[in-house]
Symmetry: C2
Subunit: 484 residues, 2 copies
């Protein structure tokens, strides 16, 4: 039976009307009452365009206040938000619009032209357009049924077209409470949102905000100086980042003693190089590694505060309401990570086949490889699809990346496999340097000293930057294109 | 669809194996791993007696470690615990045993004789008896389906027989997380359990313990010196008490500065006299009033930390996942309190009629009267059944109790109505004195100065003690018996 709770924003506006919901870099704030008023008004305006329960509305926006308001407005109408990555090509967008039955798109004012130029045959409204509409007096949701769908986000499969991950309100609820049971809820918490809101890692923070009654410090995009400023001067207590952000931050953070109230740097977006974690430890930055994906409504495995230093390099244990297993493990104990829990999606939008393939009896096959230590802590090894098999040996790109990125002068590393007549596949590395004088020979010498011979990359490519997605995650499958 | 989570004790034992789950007054402790091991062993022994999924097992015990172990053991077997008040008469017990289809009873070692002497025709095992049994290798639950029933507790209706309130695992889960969203989760939290575990206020603490990974400091029963000691010297941060306990405590607490880490005295069990709350405020005891009942799996309305002083006397707002309304309000805004939320029972055991009468479309009629102030804070006025109607005027016993208990020399007060030919009903008061020299005339003078004439009790009865239930709640319906 679907559980019913009061509408979460209305409820928080009732409990904490004058508390800050949203804080922006210019210092301006929105209280929960402000946010409710604005979201309800936005909903009533949107209703004039026929947006209703179950309507699929596309969102094409960078991080901004209006995006936050639009998201909550959709919930007041019972509409489903389809979150587009703003870097998508016309072809990719076109597929998602059609696949998700999107009937209209809401776009950030600065991005409306970009999407209007694509000539999609559906209504596109900028946030400013919506504000000019007249409110229609429709009944707004006062309750939330946790089994109802709220958001759809597309995720690339290993093969075929992207799949629309459907998140129910319940998925988001359990994700938020599962995280709270891990890192606690403190009355002074303020979470830094620098990940894109169109990705699950960003969106999940907005929902934590209304569920916990906690302010979000919202940045339009990642900038290490701004993040540093937020932590040092704006009472941010928790920040969610991905590896490359931490990398860029770490040189700024910890040079002075940062505020004691900063208690958690939540690290997601793939395995982190051990060297980076050790550097963080030395600088006393409280990094907690986590593991999750769109299908798990953000983190589902997180290192807890008490284990953070003792289990450096581990992603931790599954959150309290979740379960985790390693299946089909090899001799080293490495196998596929499968997870289960109420924060796991019930399936892909209108794609029973993909759902049945990925989720069996509640267990989601993640496509990631990992192993558990004797105490049950998870070490994520790599994406299964990124595994390099060379002369019958398994080579995990992240291991090589981790080693090379600890070399002085090396800033970022990406490793992938290249077809090879003799070995089947061989590893090759793509490196961004801090210090332009570093040579291929030096890198190979360093690699030989720290890696078994078959793991030493057969070629080193120096690059100006590595391919990353809008969340700054490394796209290994695009590395090879750099060689063309 | 019923959500599935991992078995909560097994999960907490995996996350925090060596953290304290239970601390006793003699200083001995059980870790979560200990508690899991002992509960699983107890379950395997109990399985030898045919206890299985859905079996109703009675529990007849005071607060002790074995009771905690037995409760978790039942969950490993999927059995349902029927919690008996150990003060019940043979007749009352007999009714509950039959009504709840109880097939066997587990009794505290010190209480086994008492219940054995009652000659019920079912198996009675003391905890020591169970320990002597051989383990049977049955599969224990590894997961919990939140819609499954876990506990049954009987509650007296205004008329007719007691009704068995069924709590699902989900009811307990939502109660625990709802409370966490109100008062937060701190890593140093330790909750004092002094309420009986056979009442919902006590049991709910055990489940918070496994869900939060938080130690419980367990006392066999209330003793103000022991509670004072626990707060002053044993790092207790939160304590759940009822009014009479707070009354007895307040003179001890605050004479010295108590530890800063003590952050919440959660007060339940009926409206508190304003004088007591003010005394607590003066002594800087952080009292948060709350409101709840067996049907709501403990508190469903609680004053939040930020409003505690500003809204003295209010029970607060409904917890984040819950809703509250006042229906059929009179001119003063006083009407029946109705509540809704995932912590509210789905109904009474095998009693569709009572369920249908109490719960309509998810809304539970509480039988309590209350009103909301302009900001939506609840003030509980009284039990509807305790309302005295005198010459057409509504008189709330708790108001008179609150006034009289602020008189110097008065320790406890209970007020009820007496039939009266002229007025229909008139209020009468029962008083326990601190100072034996106080006279009826003095009390009536004090009452006349502070209450409208029709509210002044028509008779003052001095008593050695007032009738209270096992949770120390005043039993107003038994006051009249004192006059016989």
């Amino acid at each position: 039976m679907s559980e019913i709770i009061p509408h979460w924003l209305t409820k928080q506006a009732s409990l904490s009307p004058n508390d800050t919901a949203l804080e922006l870099e210019d210092g301006s704030c929105l209280t929960f009452n402000d946010l409710m008023q604005k979201s309800q008004s936005f909903a009533k305006k949107l209703a004039s365009q026929g947006v209703d329960k179950g309507t699929k509305v596309g969102l094409f926006s960078n991080n901004c206040t209006e995006m936050v308001i639009a998201i909550h407005a959709l919930s007041y109408l019972g509409a489903v938000g389809v979150f587009f990555n703003i870097r998508l090509t016309e072809k990719e967008l076109s597929f998602q619009i059609k696949d998700a039955d999107v009937s209209s798109i809401l776009a950030a004012d600065g991005l409306a032209n970009q999407i209007n130029n694509m000539n999609f045959s559906l209504q596109i409204l900028s946030f400013a357009d919506v504000c000019k509409l007249k409110e229609v007096n429709v009944p707004l949701a006062t309750e939330i049924a946790l089994d109802d769908a709220f958001t759809i986000m597309y995720t690339s499969g290993t093969t075929g077209n992207p799949k629309g991950v459907v998140h129910t309100y319940g998925n988001h609820w359990w994700s938020a409470t599962g995280s709270a049971l891990n890192i606690g809820i403190h009355s002074n918490d303020k979470w830094l949102a620098v990940l894109p809101l169109f990705h699950i890692g960003g969106l999940s923070l907005l929902l934590k905000s209304v569920i916990y009654g906690m302010p979000i410090y919202l940045l339009e995009k990642f900038d290490e100086q701004k993040v540093h400023h937020a932590i040092m001067n704006c009472q941010v207590t928790i920040a969610s980042v991905v590896t490359v952000m931490l990398h860029r931050l770490i040189d700024l953070l910890g040079e002075e003693d940062y505020p004691k109230s900063f208690r958690c740097m939540l690290l997601g977006g793939g395995p982190a190089p051990k060297g980076l974690l050790e550097k963080s430890k030395d600088k006393r930055v409280p990094v907690f590694q986590s593991y999750g994906m769109t299908e798990t409504s953000s983190q589902i495995v997180t290192l807890s505060p008490k284990d953070a230093l003792r289990k450096l390099g581990s992603a931790g244990k599954s959150l309290f309401p979740a379960q985790l297993k390693i299946i089909d493990a090899n001799d080293e104990g490495i196998g596929e990570i499968v997870v289960k829990g109420p924060m796991v999606t019930k399936g892909y939008y209108k794609n029973k086949q993909a759902t049945a393939k990925s989720i069996q009896e509640g267990w989601l096959s993640t496509g990631d490889l990992g192993k558990l230590d004797e105490e049950g802590f998870l070490y994520v090894v790599d994406r299964r699809k990124d595994l390099i098999i060379s002369g019958g040996e398994n080579i995990y790109p992240s291991e090589i990346e981790s080693v090379l990125s600890s070399m002085v002068g090396v800033k970022e590393v990406g490793v992938t496999g290249l077809e090879d007549l003799k070995w089947g596949e061989v590893p090759i590395a793509f490196i961004v340097l801090d210090d332009a004088s570093v040579t291929e020979v030096e890198v190979l010498q360093y690699a030989s000293k720290n890696l078994a011979k078959y793991k030493v990359p057969k070629k080193i490519n120096f690059e100006a930057e590595l391919p990353r997605n809008a969340s700054n995650k490394l796209l290994r499958n695009k590395l090879r294109e750099l060689m063309q």
